[in-house]
C-alpha cells in the first residue's frame, strides 16, 4: 500500500527536487544576476514555498475560471452591457485603466518571467513563473473585457501606442521600467512586495468596487476572477521579504532602502487612483482618503509592526503621505482638467452634488483650497470660456508627474526640489523623488521625460496639436477635451433616447 505524502513533501518532490547541481558549467553563468545588488543568499533551500500548486491543478482551476469569465464577456457584448453603466463619464476611468494599468500587467509578466528564469532557487523560480503567466492572463483578460467598450467609446483604441508615448502615461510606464531595469531582488521588493502586497488593494479594490457601483459587469468579473491569482501573488511578495531578511542581516538595510523607494514611487503612481475615486466615478465608493486609511494606515501599519522584528521600519515619508491623502486627488484632477485637450480621455467639472460630497469627505482642505477653483471653472464654463492651459507642464525627473503638488504644510506653495548631476540640474516634485534620484542619478538621468522630448523635437510638431494627433495618435475632438459636447456623450444620449 502506497504511503500518503503530505502536501509539502509531495510539492518538494514534484518541484524543488527537479533541480540539480551543475557539473559541466559554472552555475554562476546560469544565474548571473544574483550578486550584483549586494544581497546575500546563503541557502536557497530555506525558501518556503508560498503556495503549492502543481501545473495540473493550475490548468484545471484556471481553465474553470476562464470559462466562466469568457461566458460573461460574451453575454456582456451580446446584451450591450455598456448601456448599463451609471453614466458615460464612468467609462473614462476604464480608458485610464486600459492605457495606464493593463500595460503594467504586461510588464509584470515580463518582469516575473525574467526573475522566473534568473533566480537560482527553484522554489522561488517556479513561484515567479506562475505569477508571470498569471500577469499575462491579467493583461489579456483586460484587453478582452475592454474590447466591447472600445467598440462604442473613444479613447481605448490605441492604448498600447499611447502607453509608450503619452505624457501622463510615462508615470506608470516608468514605474515598471524602473523595477524591471533593477536587479532581480529589487524587482521582487518593488513589485512582489511593495506593489502586490502593500499597495495592490489600493489599486484593485477601488477600480473593481468602482465598477460594481457603476454597473460595469465586465470589469467586476475580471476583477473578481483575478482575485485568487492576487492572493497567490501576495503570499509570494511576503515570502520574498521574509526570505531576504532571514538570509543575512546585511540584507536588512538594502531591503529597507528599497521599501522606502518603492513605497514612495508606489504612492505617486496611486495618484491616478486617488483622482479616479474622487472625481471620475459617478457613483462613489469611498473617498481616496478613506481608502488610504483603511488599506494602508490600518493594514500596512500592522504589517510593518510585524516586520519590526527583522529591523524593518515604516517607509520613509509615511508621514508626508499621511498629509498628502487630503490633497493629491484634487491636485491631480485639476492638472488633467486644465490639460484636458492633451488627455486621451474626457475631463469635466464635478457636479454640484459631487462638489458637496468632496466638501463633506475633505472637511479640512476641500472648501479651503480646492472648491474655489472649481467654482471659478464653473463660472468660466458658463461664459463659454472652458479653461485649458496652453503651457506644457514641467515634470518631476523621478516620478514624471507634472510639478503640481504643493508643500503639504502649505497647499498654496508648489513644491520644488532639485539636484545637480554632472553639471545639469534636475527637478523633483518632492523630497521622496529627490532622494531616489540622488541615490542612483545615473539611472534617472536616462528618464524619457515626455515634455522634454516634445521640446527637443523628438515627438513631431511643430505644435502641441501635431504631437497629439500624429505622435500620440489621438483623434482630436473625439478622444480628448471636455466630456460636455464629446462624441461619447452624444452617442450615449442617442442610445438612451434623451435629448
Amino acid at each position: 500500500m502506497a504511503k500518503k505524502l503530505n502536501i509539502k513533501d509531495k510539492y518538494r518532490l514534484l518541484t524543488r527536487d527537479l533541480d540539480w547541481e551543475f557539473s559541466y558549467v559554472d552555475r554562476k553563468d546560469a544565474f548571473p544576476f544574483e550578486e550584483f545588488e549586494g544581497i546575500k543568499i546563503t541557502d536557497w533551500s530555506k525558501w518556503e514555498d508560498p503556495f503549492r500548486l502543481t501545473m495540473d491543478s493550475y490548468w484545471k482551476y484556471q481553465a474553470e475560471k476562464e470559462k466562466k469569465l469568457y461566458a460573461i464577456f460574451d453575454a456582456f457584448s451580446q446584451n450591450n452591457g455598456h448601456l448599463n453603466v451609471s453614466d458615460p463619464r464612468y467609462v473614462n476611468a476604464l480608458k485610464l485603466f486600459l492605457t495606464g494599468v493593463s500595460p503594467l500587467e504586461y510588464q509584470a509578466y515580463q518582469g516575473f518571467a525574467h526573475v522566473g528564469r534568473q533566480f537560482g532557487g527553484v522554489g522561488a523560480r517556479v513561484a515567479c513563473q506562475m505569477q508571470a503567466i498569471d500577469e499575462l492572463r491579467h493583461v489579456q483578460t483586460q484587453i478582452h473585457a475592454m474590447s466591447h467598450y472600445n467598440k462604442f467609446f473613444d479613447g481605448f483604441q490605441d492604448y498600447s501606442h499611447m502607453h509608450d508615448r503619452v505624457w501622463y502615461l510615462s508615470v506608470p510606464k516608468s514605474f515598471f521600467n524602473d523595477a524591471r531595469a533593477a536587479g532581480p531582488f529589487e524587482f521582487m521588493v518593488a513589485i512582489g512586495f511593495s506593489f502586490e502586497y502593500v499597495l495592490t488593494n489600493l489599486l484593485f479594490v477601488p477600480f473593481m468596487s468602482g465598477a460594481a457601483h457603476n454597473g460595469d459587469m465586465a470589469t467586476v468579473t475580471f476583477g473578481f476572477s483575478a482575485q485568487s491569482d492576487e492572493a497567490r501573488h501576495m503570499t509570494l511578495g511576503l515570502e520574498v521579504i521574509k526570505f531576504l531578511l532571514e538570509q543575512h542581516e546585511d540584507n536588512v538595510p538594502i531591503v529597507q532602502k528599497w521599501i522606502d523607494k518603492w513605497f514612495w514611487r508606489g504612492t505617486r503612481l496611486l495618484t491616478i487612483v486617488a483622482m479616479m475615486m474622487d472625481y471620475m466615478l459617478p457613483n462613489k465608493v469611498m473617498s481616496w482618503k478613506e481608502a488610504w486609511e483603511v488599506y494602508f494606515e490600518e493594514a500596512g501599519g500592522s504589517l510593518f509592526k510585524d516586520l519590526a522584528r527583522y529591523g524593518i521600519k515604516m517607509p520613509k515619508y509615511a508621514e508626508t503621505i499621511e498629509k498628502e491623502k487630503e490633497h493629491v486627488s484634487h491636485q491631480a484632477w485639476w492638472i488633467f482638467y486644465t490639460h484636458g485637450h492633451a488627455a486621451g480621455f474626457h475631463t469635466w467639472i464635478p457636479s454640484d452634488e459631487e462638489l458637496d460630497w468632496l466638501s463633506e469627505k475633505y472637511p479640512d482642505t476641500f472648501d479651503k483650497y480646492y472648491r474655489p477653483r472649481w467654482e471659478l471653472a464653473k463660472e468660466m464654463e458658463a461664459k463659454g470660456e472652458r479653461f485649458y492651459t496652453k503651457a506644457l507642464p514641467q515634470l518631476c525627473t523621478t516620478c514624471q508627474i507634472p510639478m503640481g503638488f504643493t508643500e503639504m504644510d502649505d497647499p498654496t506653495q508648489v513644491c520644488y526640489r532639485d539636484s545637480v548631476y554632472n553639471g545639469d540640474r534636475y527637478h523633483f516634485c518632492s523630497d521622496g523623488c529627490k532622494d531616489i534620484f540622488d541615490d542612483e542619478p545615473e539611472k534617472y538621468v536616462q528618464s524619457w521625460l515626455p515634455v522634454h522630448q516634445i521640446f527637443q523635437g523628438n515627438c513631431g510638431g511643430p505644435d502641441v496639436e501635431n504631437v497629439l494627433s500624429d505622435f500620440y495618435r489621438m483623434n482630436l475632438g473625439e478622444d480628448n477635451m471636455d466630456m460636455k459636447g464629446s462624441p461619447d456623450e452624444k452617442r450615449w444620449k442617442q442610445w438612451k433616447g434623451v435629448a
Binding site: K3, A30, H144, F153, D164, N177, P487
Partner: protein, 328 residues
Amino acid sequence: MTIEIKTATLEPVRNTYAHIERRFGDKPATRYQEATYDVQSEKYFHYRPLWQPEKELNDPSRTAIKMKDWYDFKDPRQFYYGAYVQQRAKMQEVAENNYAFFEKRNLMACLPDGMEAKIIKYLIPLRHLEQGANLNNMYACSYGYGTAITQACLYNGMDRLGIAQYLSRIGLIIDGNTGDSLAEAKQAWMNDAIWQGIRAAVEKMIITEDWFEVLVAQDVVLDCLMHELFYVQFDQWLQDNGAQDIGMLTEFMQVWAKDNNRWIDATLKIAAAESAENKALLETWVSDWKQVISEALSPLAVEMLGSDALALAESALDKRLMKAGLFK
C-alpha cells in the same frame, strides 16, 4: 413557423483596436489577435537594465535572428492565455483519469520483471531534462521579443514543468510515494555514464546566450530527438515487452508533442523564410546542436534501444527540418 427574435443592434464606432485594424483591416478581430498583436511595449524605454546595460528592456537584438515584424510568429494554435489553459485542462483531465485508473488497477504490479528498473533508469531522469527545458523556454520568453513568440515560450515553459511533474508521479507510483525511485533516477542523471553526455549538453544549453539559439537547441533539436527516442521508440519497446500500460502515463507527453510541434515547426519555418541570413544562421545552430546532442544521446540510445535508434531519430528530425525549409 419562424420566430423572430428582436435584439437591439447598436452600430459600433469601430470593430477592434486601432493597431489590430492597421494590421488586419476594419473588421471584428479574434481574441487571439487582440490578446497578442502589439501588446508589448516597443519604444521609449526609460532606463537601461542594470543587469544588461548594453540593451534596452525590450530589445530585439538579444538574438542574431532578425525579423522585420516579430509578430509574424503567429501561433497556429492561436493560444492566448484563456485558450491555452482550457486546452491543457482537457489534456490533464484525461491524464488524471489515466493515472487514477492505472493506480486503482495497480497496473505497475502487472509489469514484467525488471521493467520498473528500466523505467527508473531511462524514463524518470527525463524529469530533470524537462526542468532544463523549463529554464530554456523561460529564457526565450524573457529575452524574446514580441508577444506572439514570447507567450508561446511561456506556455511551453509551464508545460515542461507540468511534464516534469507527471514524470515524477510515475516514479512515485513505482516507489509507493517514498520518493526512492526519484532519488535513484536522479543518481542516474547525476552519475550514470550514459546520462552524462546529455546532462552536459543541457547545462551548456542553459548558459547559451542567444535566446533563439536556445530555442532551436531545446525545442527543435533536443525535443525532437528525445521524443523520437523515448516517446516513440522506447514506448514501442515497452509495448513489445509487455509494458504497454505505461503508455497511459505518457499519453500526455505524446499528445503534447503533437500540439507543440505545430507551433515550433511554424516558428522555425517563419524565421527561415524571413531571410537567407536567418536561414543560414538557423542551419548553423541546428547542425552544431544536432552534433552535440546526438553525440550526447548516443550511449543512452545504444544501451536503451540498440545501435540503429539514434539514426532513426535523426531522420525524423531531418524530415521536420526539411519541412520547415531548412537545408534545401
